[in-house]
Symmetry: C2
Subunit: 221 residues, 2 copies
Amino acid sequence: MAETRRKPGPRRALTEREIVDAALALLDAGGAEAASIRRIAAAVGVAPNAVYTYFPDKAAVERALVERILEDVQAPAEGDWRPAVEALAIGLRSRLVAHPGAVPLMLGGPMDGPHALRLGELLLDLLAASGLDAASAARASYTLMVYVLGAAALEVADGPPGPLPPEAERIAARHAALGEVPAQAFPRTAAATGVMATWVGTEQFLWGLRRVLDGLEAAAK
Amino acid sequence: MAETRRKPGPRRALTEREIVDAALALLDAGGAEAASIRRIAAAVGVAPNAVYTYFPDKAAVERALVERILEDVQAPAEGDWRPAVEALAIGLRSRLVAHPGAVPLMLGGPMDGPHALRLGELLLDLLAASGLDAASAARASYTLMVYVLGAAALEVADGPPGPLPPEAERIAARHAALGEVPAQAFPRTAAATGVMATWVGTEQFLWGLRRVLDGLEAAAK
DNA sequence: ACCTGAACACCGTTCAAGT
DNA sequence: ACCTGAACACCGTTCAAGT
């Protein structure tokens, strides 16, 4: 991780991408607090303030980080709109939960970068074939983004800083959580915690996604 | 805001609630960065480290803040389950958007405080009358929380730190955003931005909520 | 028991100076 | 043009000392 320090000089020693990649690696390994400007600079072998040659402030680095993650959400295969929308949602979610520290950054600011726009446009394209009128398709697309981002945020919220533990461990954590819910005061919550421990991650996400899509599809008469 | 400084002494000068209320006021006025331990301490007239007599660390203050906000989400009136669930969702959303700075705190950690449990239990109670079996009701309740929290997060994301501007101003901001979407590269996004500017806040929230509820209701056969 | 001042190890950001 | 060291105004948190 500790790269060799470059010689000072008038020529550009780094690229924006190197900086963003270093930031993402720190974020993945140690969560939000590990991705400080000072640590990013150290990781790329440069003084802290050198970063400001590439980005105006930390918020700009974070925006670039979000775009970096959205960059390789792949477009779904051709075909019926519903499976295509599902595939897009699944792809986006999996990118998000692979980078838990980035989820608050994504939810925390407007998503107006080129890759965010590309995915939004793609989603609207797919929904155009759903039978929804243009206004409903716009609202449906927003509703779907709310669901995908919200699901990722809740999924990532309980976890530690750094990477998400494997599913088996997360199920065990749910069972432990079950034991801590006061069952006589909150009987349904205790029961529900048990239910939620049987599925974790993708399967729960898919169940909800399909209910949302059912509701949206029904609105297309 | 600057309270008179209390005399030092062995007796408890503050309550947890005073500290949390001060934190909430700072958060509402100036966003997350205004709600630092040091500024909270100054607001209640105490040295920064005195806060650690009441809370073990900043995360504990934030958890108490979240609970403070959930505290006065009122239970919906008796009646059919669907309007009651809608009322609960609307009430929760309105509390969240009234405190934009608190939304990332809510999404950022597990919601396991007493008031979070109370609302979750209430939601499960209402869903028990929906015709969903217990397992589906648990998943439906989770899906609804994802929607409500996700919607609040996206709604609050574009805004400035501090209180959310009035709706008229937010609609104007959407129209400004419309002008910035490159319409030839992203034609559907540009059109959708126009649609989204006609409704803002509550109405968009309700539209999506009803689609989600439609999908959940359909799952009850 | 509760509070204080002082300190520690950090932040993001700015600025004048070097190459 | 790009980088540096140094500084500024902050953080959260700890600790020994006062009452």
